[in-house]
Symmetry: C2
């Protein structure tokens, strides 16, 4: 945990931006794997961590906007709990570490909330994403599960997003650490891969690094020779000379802050000429995008810059044609780049994704264009501010099923050279990703440098 005044200050700042009523925060419960008592590793809710810092299941907290009170709801351990799980700090001690003075038993929360509902006072809650918490909200507020999200407090969402979006000094230390630990792990992977290994053997090294660091993986590792599959979690392929390995993985620090890095490297010592050509295009897009990062710039424009650089590069090698500007406006580049250039990052790898993309990545003035393939997957569009932390992760992905579908529809044939593209069907994909902090004047990369250029990567692969 951070020092206790940090949590007190965060809560005080939150209170200032809201009116009357109470703020309800539900921590996460244990998440059962195949029966109740065989649970996945516990992950506390990020907003709960942010304001209360306690990593323990089945807690809730309330901030009274009209009084001056924060209450933690939860139960102390019984002797049976101690036998099975060991003596820990008492809940009262943990509460005190977060500057919370009052602890009540978990079962009193329902009654506490009901009294406010009865008095017709506003009870603000955030949209729950875990089914256990949906069930609680549904029962306490007398709502069907489908109504829950609509009744979440937009005022509270906006206040939390505003606060969590701007990272404080102690958070930046954590995010630098997460990025550096992640870079170390990527370096290990880049040195360990050999033709003949299975993907899962490399994923095993990623898990080892995560556990040894005292944290966890921030998200399930994407480690694949099929880099075109954007969220590939299958690890059964054997690495073959001539292929590339795409490694998108990051560690979460003990305090819960994420790193999110991607590198793509050859299974052999060198990229093939075609792989190298396309790698250079992605790297140029990465460079053009990151060089734009600064307060006042819309991330939508960072994204469009990356798209234009990719399109120009694809034009240079004959896979696209026509005017770059027109191709990108039409969305033709999404044949090769189906997703967004980046996203906010913090306590969540896609920071605050549970609170709603319209609040985290967009504004009331900049509402997302939701129809265009590609652009609809851009999680962040709005103007950047100092303290924002985000990723830059352009890529080029050749997806045979997408070629077949678009080609059959004659889609964007003025911009896409389908004939030449057929020769690239089995190319797979390349992504490059780093994490950045928006500073007062521009930006800086978080963590330490991780081999990035073709020559840096080939140097490592040739020396193994």
């Amino acid at each position: 945990m951070f020092e206790k005044h940090i949590y007190a200050n965060r809560r005080a700042q939150l209170k200032k931006s809201l009116g009357s009523g109470i703020l309800l925060f539900l921590g996460n419960e244990e998440s059962p794997m195949n029966y109740k008592d065989n649970a996945y590793h516990f992950r506390q809710d990020s907003t709960f961590l942010y304001y209360f810092g306690i990593k323990e299941p089945a807690l809730a907290a309330v901030i009274d906007l009209d009084g001056d009170e924060t209450i933690l709801f939860g139960d102390e351990m019984s002797i049976d709990d101690i036998v099975w799980m060991g003596r820990q700090k008492t809940l009262t001690e943990k509460a005190s570490d977060a500057a919370i003075e009052r602890v009540l038993p978990a079962k009193e929360l329902h009654q506490y909330i009901s009294s406010y509902i009865t008095k017709k006072q506003k009870v603000h809650y955030l949209p729950p994403y875990r089914a256990e918490n949906k069930t609680k909200i549904s029962s306490w507020f007398g709502l069907s599960v489908s109504e829950i999200s609509n009744r979440a407090s937009i005022d509270l969402i906006k206040a939390v997003v505003a606060q969590r979006s701007v990272k404080s000094a102690e958070e930046i230390v954590q995010l630098d650490l997460a990025a550096s630990l992640s870079a170390d792990m990527h370096q290990v992977v880049m040195q360990a891969a050999r033709p003949g290994m299975y993907e899962r053997e490399i994923v095993a090294k990623i898990h080892q690094a995560a556990m040894a660091s005292g944290g966890q993986l921030a998200y399930p590792a994407i480690l694949t020779v099929h880099g075109q599959i954007l969220h590939n979690h299958y690890y059964g392929n054997q690495l073959q000379e001539g292929q590339m390995v795409l490694n998108d993985s990051g560690l979460e620090t003990e305090l819960g802050y994420a790193g999110d890095l991607t590198r793509t490297f050859p299974v052999g010592r060198q990229f093939t000429p075609v792989q190298k050509d396309i790698y250079e295009i992605v790297l140029q897009a990465y460079t053009d995008a990151k060089d734009l990062l600064a307060p006042g710039i819309r991330y939508l424009d960072v994204h469009l810059t990356a798209c234009r650089t990719l399109t120009q590069g694809l034009k240079d090698i004959g896979l696209m044609r026509g005017t770059v500007e027109d191709a990108v406006n039409a969305g033709a580049h999404a044949m090769f780049f189906q997703c967004g250039t980046g996203h906010m990052m913090g306590l969540d790898v896609h920071d605050m994704e549970d609170l709603g993309e319209q609040y985290v990545g967009y504004t009331d003035q900049l509402i997302k264009n939701t129809t265009q393939f590609g652009l609809k997957s851009l999680r962040l569009g709005k103007e950047l501010q100092p303290g924002y932390v985000l990723t830059v992760e352009p890529g080029i992905y050749i997806i045979p099923e997408l070629i077949d579908q678009w080609k059959a529809d004659n889609r964007f044939k003025e911009y896409i050279n389908y004939e030449r593209l057929e020769q690239f069907r089995e190319f797979t994909g390349i992504r490059i990703e780093d994490d950045f902090l928006i500073t007062e004047n521009n930006s800086r990369m978080l963590g330490k440098h991780l081999s990035l250029t073709v020559s840096e990567i080939e140097t490592i692969r040739s020396s193994v």
Copy 2:
């Protein structure tokens, strides 16, 4: 997956033991970590795996007892799904691999069930343990969440338990594999531990082994220098000369079968004399218990035998006193052995724990004594049958908080030498655990031999 006829045969056998109506099986959904799309690794429900074999989220299946139909409910991938997750077999192909002929869209399940409820035909379901499935059952059957388990089908529970309890030849192959892979991993751990290492660095090796095997951990690893904490998931201690490491961990095969092994070894090259004395007591209890395993023997008696051996040994070193039989009947040994000697194992490490201990571990005739501390944690009491797979895992655990509580109450002072026990407060704990199959005449250990005796373990620790 197994061959398709295996799933067809399992379902045919289940149908025979039940009357009329339909059987509803809910597969698991993705389990969100910190927002909906950042999920833990997917674990299918074990009963769903047993009858349908498909490891994919958000499926359900229905067996019509009156007709001759099995229907899988689920959705085929969209082009967006393929872009993000890659082309897989279609759901229809997966269904066919499990000998299921009919696939309907997920949204039709509610209507399908409603038609049976309307016709007042029996819809059998198993007690759900994940909140997502509780919500579905609650809504489809018009039940409050607290009523759901009471309305689960006892006939179906009993039929599934009877069938899953007796392992078939192809399951035993899997369980042997799980135990052998787990033994390999334990051997690596026993060779890798060094004074000065952190527990998490060793847990990292366990995770690495699990991932590299193509499976997962069957349960969160217990790897600790505080072996007295039965379900310890804190990995922050540094190993010190003179301490012991307790490693309770097991791998799950790709098809979902568990291994569950425990070894306790010295951080240094040798056990201390006191550690060795107590290790020998636990090993004797392990030997006496496993030697009893055979069809027709109640596991309750296996447990009580282990308890008596532990008590005799503790008497020999002056920690207990009085008549062994009386001490065990009174439950005094539970100061040192607070849990059960073992549990059923299969697709779940505690097999079918979601279906209810009264059905899995006990019978209508043998109902668990729920009040006595220690005995109340025995998950398995009933008579053993050929094909049962279970663990034997006696231990001795010194829990300071328990000493303080019982001593203050003068509890069992005729059997416990509290004065001498004070000298053992910091002893921590020892457990030894292997997995066994009940055969036609007696039993055999699953998997390969893993260093067990003091001399075997010290040989390994001295050669590192």
